[in-house]
């Protein structure tokens, strides 16, 4: 078989998928709200890419962009710790201790993308793994994984995140890896009992790998911890640990819906492996709702991170992060006249947060209309 005929075959096979994408793009272009969301997000992408040009890294930082420059010249009568309103030099003004709000907002865009995308992508992967395994294999595996998920969901997210962030520095190195060890040992015991066929064997080996991984964690976690895990990274870890159960539940439901369809039976009957059945037949037909939720989730992750920053759990005071800037404004806004006087210190970074979240929400809302099979053809 020649290369060209293979290509032709591929093209024929892909034709329905391509026309589907065309249809989706057409629907997207028809909706004003969707385009508004897309433009807002693209605007933030441009700001993030041009950050070194828009807000050059000051020479005192020696190439490190993750510290907001302080204006040392403003002292005397006004006072070092009193915010100054917008001027030509600081177009968004300065906040507490003369940190430049403009620099913080521009570089904060990169932080926002980093926080939102990291948390959502990692929670999505974990949720995808757990939800798919639980739904596809069912039985004991489903019970064990989903009851664990239920326990995590039962806690209020913000409180759990705060607890994880605070417990992180002291508790993680030794105790949590012991916890990992215990959980994986528990799973191995369950799956050793299940080893009747090939699937059982695969599972046992997977969980033996997890066991090995937790052993490595136990031995090396203090070392990994020394790799400069900042306060913001702890927030990332906490939000991921809080975020994955939602995805696991959603994906489980979707896979359960799809897994008894005829095409899945056909795939199994033609002798494809479990892995191939899941990745080629089940996931492509169950993943769209997850994408919609993930898009909407980027906004809510940013909101939660900002809320954490607001109560003082998050990036340190000189870090370019929107939530941190709003949090810093709290120390100067103490009464009714201050809040008018230092309006810029919370309004500008707060506005950036709001626009970022609005953008993702508009986009996710539009994606729902475009991708949801129940709504799309109306």
């Amino acid at each position: 078989m020649s290369l060209t005929s293979r290509w032709e075959e591929f093209k024929t096979g892909m034709r329905p998928r391509i026309s589907e994408w065309r249809f989706m793009l057409k629907r997207m272009r028809q909706s004003n709200l969707a385009m508004a969301g897309l433009i807002i997000i693209l605007g933030f992408v441009v700001i993030a890419c041009l950050a070194p040009v828009l807000a050059p890294i000051p020479s005192v930082n020696r190439g490190n962009p993750w510290a907001i420059p302080q204006d040392q010249t403003i002292t005397g009568l006004v006072g070092y710790n009193v915010p100054t309103p917008p001027t030509t030099e600081h177009i968004f003004g300065t906040t507490y201790y003369q940190y430049d709000i403009y620099y913080g907002c521009i570089w904060g865009t990169i932080t926002a993308f980093r926080v939102g995308l990291t948390v959502v992508v990692i929670s999505l992967i974990v949720g995808l793994l757990i939800g798919t395994l639980a739904a596809f294999y069912g039985g004991v595996i489903d019970e064990a994984l989903m009851r664990f998920t239920d326990i995590i969901i039962a806690f209020p997210g913000l409180i759990l995140a705060i607890a994880i962030v605070l417990a992180f520095p002291v508790a993680i190195p030794l105790n949590l890896s012991m916890l990992f060890l215990g959980i994986s040992a528990f799973f191995v015991v369950i799956f050793l009992g299940l080893r009747r066929d090939r699937t059982g064997a695969i599972f046992t080996s997977v969980f033996l790998v997890i066991l090995a991984f937790s052993l490595i964690t136990y031995l090396y976690f203090p070392l990994i911890l020394n790799l400069n895990l900042g306060k913001l990274d702890k927030v990332l870890v906490a939000l991921t640990l809080v975020g994955w159960p939602g995805y696991a539940r959603l994906i489980r439901g979707e896979v359960l819906r799809v897994k008894n369809e005829d095409f899945v039976e056909a795939s199994r009957a033609s002798g494809s492996s479990d892995f191939r059945t899941i990745t080629r037949h089940i996931l492509p037909n169950s993943i769209y709702p997850v994408f919609i939720v993930a898009t909407l989730d980027i906004g809510s992750v940013i909101l939660t991170a900002a809320a954490l920053a607001f109560i003082g759990i998050g990036a340190p005071p000189n870090y370019p992060d929107w939530g941190q800037l709003v949090s810093a404004s709290q120390s100067v806004i103490t009464n009714a006249s201050n809040i008018v006087l230092y309006f810029h210190t919370f309004f500008i970074p707060g506005f950036f947060i709001a626009m970022f979240v609005v953008g993702w929400n508009l986009l996710g809302d539009a994606l729902r209309d475009v991708l949801d099979p129940m709504l799309r053809r109306r």
Partner: protein, 382 residues
């Protein structure tokens, strides 16, 4: 829960055979329903005990992850000369080195005696601390929760009926804005406009100082009947005190409503749209029923199910404390107390708070499930 047809052939025949005006069918159904409901509630309450045990064990494990020295430090009060010795004493006195299950058992027995321990962060007994802080959260929730639920249902229904019309566009915009704005941003913006520029509302706190002084002065004989200042003011014959509390609640309530009504509008709208496309709505219309009857009697009632679940969870969530709103408006409620406790690693308070949270969520779930039977008579509790 399963669906069951309401009437059986046997009862219907019996009712018609007697020829009396009493509908035995209804009595029969009513009695069996009550018995069902009671059995259902008892079963759920038993389940509640297990959920509480599970949640508290998990939280206990998390707190046990902290090093023993750190946990012991909580029991060391005042200025201590020899810190290491004091810590060692505390470990011995409170059995902090004992195995996990021993410590958990001790805590559980204490809980059953109503003793949740001493909260370091609020310098009070945990039970007292929660009891004194909850009213401030409650004062906001008592206004916010009904507003959120009724406004959410009303706007959601209107938005679904007039799909893509101006009302729909406006309420969708409202829900997207409410859903996207950080709550501290809404709160601070409201404070800047209504407290800073216009001066209509107070800046912070839950009561004006003069009333606080009045309340605390012993010769005024101010009785704390409910612990909630809003009601105590009325009960003590001081309506202006209650009005003052109300005045302080306005901005926090607006903040909470703006943020939380968004989700309810969205869910109500999509649920209503789905219901309106069902065949029985077409049937109802083809029978010649008026638009009003079709929408409010047939469609809205059926569309309420997902909203009921959500409202239950929402109210339970609000009652566990409004962390950000309370911080912005200087309300010393449960949410800000919980944050303070967590940042101070105040384990007794965190445990008490967890028990309360779990209790609230499980009871909200139960109430919602019972409410289902009233919203949709086809649903029977089993």
């Amino acid at each position: 829960m399963r669906h069951k047809t309401r009437e059986t052939e046997g009862t219907r025949n019996r009712a018609s055979a007697t020829g009396l005006n009493i509908d035995f069918r209804l009595i029969y159904v009513g009695v069996s329903e009550m018995a069902n409901l009671a059995a259902y509630i008892v079963r759920r309450l038993i389940l509640l005990v297990f959920v509480l045990l599970g949640v508290t064990i998990l939280v206990f494990i998390v707190t046990m992850l902290l090093p023993v020295d750190m946990r012991a430090l909580l029991y060391v009060h005042g200025s201590v000369k020899y810190l290491t010795e004091a810590i060692a004493n505390a470990i011995q006195q409170y059995h902090l080195n004992a195995p996990f299950y021993v410590q958990y058992w001790t805590w559980l027995i204490n809980l059953l005696h109503g003793n949740l321990g001493w909260s370091v962060s609020s310098n009070q007994d945990v039970v007292v601390s929660i009891a004194t802080k909850w009213p401030y959260t409650f004062e906001i929730v008592v206004f916010a929760a009904p507003l959120i639920i009724f406004l959410g249902i009303y706007l959601g229904v209107q938005s679904a009926i007039h799909r893509n019309g101006p009302i729909d566009q406006a309420s969708r915009l409202l829900s997207i804005i409410g859903w996207s704005l950080p709550s501290f941003f809404v709160g601070m913006l409201l404070l800047a406009v209504f407290a800073g520029i216009l001066g209509w509302f107070p800046y912070a706190g839950s009561m004006t100082n003069t009333w606080l002084v009045y309340m605390l002065t012993p010769k005024n004989h101010f009785m704390h009947y409910t612990g909630i200042d809003l009601f105590d003011g009325l009960l003590n014959g001081q309506p202006y005190l209650s009005l003052d509390v109300l005045w302080h609640c306005v901005l926090p309530v607006i903040t909470v409503v703006t943020i939380d009504v968004a989700l309810l509008i969205r869910v109500m709208r999509s649920s209503m749209l789905e219901t309106l496309s069902k065949p029985y709505i077409t049937t109802a219309r083809s029978k010649g029923l008026s638009n009003k009857v079709v929408i409010y009697k047939h469609a809205r009632r059926n569309a309420l199910i997902p909203v009921a679940t959500l409202s239950g969870m929402l109210v339970a969530g609000l009652l566990t404390g409004l962390i950000i709103t309370e911080t912005v408006f200087g309300f010393g409620g449960l949410g800000s107390a919980a944050v303070k406790a967590i940042t101070n690693l105040d384990i007794p308070f965190i445990m008490g708070y967890t028990v309360l949270t779990a209790l609230l969520f499980v009871s909200a779930n139960l109430i919602v499930d019972i409410m289902y039977a009233y919203i949709d008579p086809r649903i029977r509790l089993d």
